[in-house]
Amino acid sequence: MSRTELRISGFGGQGVILSGMIIGKAAAIFDNKHATMIQAFGPEARGSACSAQLSISEEPIRYPYIHRPDILIALNQDAYTRFEPELKDDGLLIYEEDLVDLRPDQRPTIRTCGIPATRIAEELGRKIVLNIVMVGFFTAVTGLISPEAIREAVRDTVPAGTEEFNLAALEKGLRHGMNVSANT
């Protein structure tokens, strides 16, 4: 099937929605595919559970919701606990490895790829770009969108004046992802 379904989840403030925006924009604007994103949030702002559903397809997307995602990006433990069970048996779990402990009985059919995105962002000097590191990692690990498209999407989305810093964070994530892909 040409449609890939993705859920991104974490705390409000970790950049969940922006991650989805960037991946969706890369697909829909710069890779010329179709993408639909649904955001779920409560009346709270930071610190609460936050989740985005993103469908990417070669065909126009009519039904916008996701029940059994192909890919889960879990930025914290709660996201993993809550959404891992809905992941397809042959799905892909991408997780923040310093913030998520996988269960001992984690389904072996699911491919798991961890990255210390927050630590990498801190080493770069600003924790806030952890989501951009994650987006880079996602791009390299899945091959779902082209590196050129994701670079354009980051440049087009982040606040003016922060482009270079964000692109540096993206490259870190991309490189980390290429190493993981090479080793599996």
Partner: protein, 386 residues
């Protein structure tokens, strides 16, 4: 006339329905908006507030929705194209001035990003339970126009249509979004300004100081307008008025005026009404839907077709005026009509009324706060098929 290039953000954008709606307003020539921000419609006014200064427009954050809904009427009589944006309780507060807009024939656009109700209800979650309020919420007899987009692209396209229809028929037009469509993010393609058709305000050609009667007809049911500053000094009132605009509170004037207010919409209904359909010809069962629900019902229709049922998809892009004739004729050709909506029965009863017993009618209710599970729609399709 073509769109003013100043307001048109030509290109491909990955934005939500609320932002797309704001861009539609800008492209349509809207240069005044007043609002009292309310979830899930806030992003519309946020974008208007930040974009208006670049095109010479004005956004005012008013003290409440009563003030917002009357400020736009003043702006229109001052010469602007204007809109207000709201949700839930804000829509309730606007009803008085929606009636005033109908009575004074003030073209304007009112966007309602529907959330769960009654009252403050579910601020961040969807509903489609304001459809009858859009139709009947203000007192008295009247006809209005309401459009229901099902994607961010349509939030852009139909907001332009809303402005065009409001100018053409001098009537408030509702863009009845819902939280899902408002917060859904997809590609929105904004064309070149010269590909966007804009209906300009039809103004009187009576010269400054000449004898202009604000409600004298000129060839059709919609009288030409004037603006403050054009030198006509019209009297505009919510009281029943004659063609001079003066109060004339008697049954005869009331009959002439109210019938014309209704007729200008009803006699042009075929021209106004827009629908989309798939597989309706030859279907035994047709699912009639609008807004987000028209996308949510698709897996149910696909599943039902896979089981051998002949199921059609009919989407109301225009909900008001209601496509009476279309539904009546359809009911004569099919076995059943299934209506899923995020309320406990509103548009369903219109479908039932128009079906006149020729086909069975089936509601798939949902109180709001989420969308339907397509399985629930499938179950009703299967029941209807028996």
């Amino acid at each position: 006339m073509k769109a003013d290039p100043k307001g048109v953000l030509t290109g491909s954008h990955f934005i939500d329905g609320d932002h797309a709606c704001a861009e539609g307003a800008l492209a349509a020539g809207c240069r005044f908006a007043a609002g009292y921000p309310i979830t899930p419609s806030t992003e519309v006014v946020e974008r208007l507030a930040s974009r208006f200064p670049t095109v010479g427009g004005i956004f005012i954050q008013m003290e409440d929705e009563l003030a917002s809904s009357i400020a736009i009427l003043g702006a229109v009589w001052g010469g602007a194209k204007a809109a207000t944006v709201t949700s839930g309780p804000g829509f309730s507060l606007m009803m008085e001035h929606i009636g005033l807009a109908v009575m004074t024939e003030t073209p304007c656009v009112i966007v309602n990003v529907q959330r769960g109700g009654p009252s403050t209800g579910l601020p961040t979650l969807p509903g489609q339970a304001d459809m009858m309020q859009a139709r009947w919420g203000s007192h008295g007899d009247y006809e209005i126009i309401a459009l229901s987009p099902d994607s961010p692209q349509e939030c852009f396209d139909l907001t332009i249509s809303a402005f065009n229809l409001s100018e053409r028929f001098r009537v408030p037009v509702f863009v009845m979004m819902d939280e899902c469509v408002g917060h859904m993010i997809e590609r929105v393609v904004i064309p070149d300004p010269d590909e966007i058709e804009i209906v300009p305000r039809r103004l009187t050609d009576v010269p400054r100081g000449g004898e202009y009667l604000p409600y004298r007809l000129d060839g059709d049911l919609i009288p030409p307008m004037t603006h403050a500053g054009m030198g006509h000094y019209p009297h505009i009132t919510g009281l029943t008025h004659d063609e001079r605009g003066y109060p004339a509170m008697n049954a005869e004037t009331q009959d002439t005026l109210v019938r014309r207010l209704c007729d200008k919409i009803l006699k042009n209904a075929d021209d106004i009404i827009e629908i989309r359909e798939d597989g309706v010809d030859g279907a035994d069962i047709v699912v009639v839907s609008y807004g987000i629900t028209s996308r949510v019902c698709l897996p149910a229709i696909r599943e039902a077709r896979a089981k051998g049922l002949k199921v059609g998809w009919l989407r109301l892009v225009t909900v008001w005026p209601f496509p009476d004739r279309l539904i009546r004729e359809l009911a004569g050709r099919v076995k059943a009509l299934v209506v899923p909506e995020l309320n406990l029965g509103q548009v369903y009863y219109e479908v039932e009324r128009c079906a006149q017993g020729q086909a069975t009618t089936h509601l798939v209710p949902h109180a709001g706060g989420a969308v339907h599970d397509p399985e629930d729609i499938l179950r009703v399709i299967e029941e209807a098929a028996r």
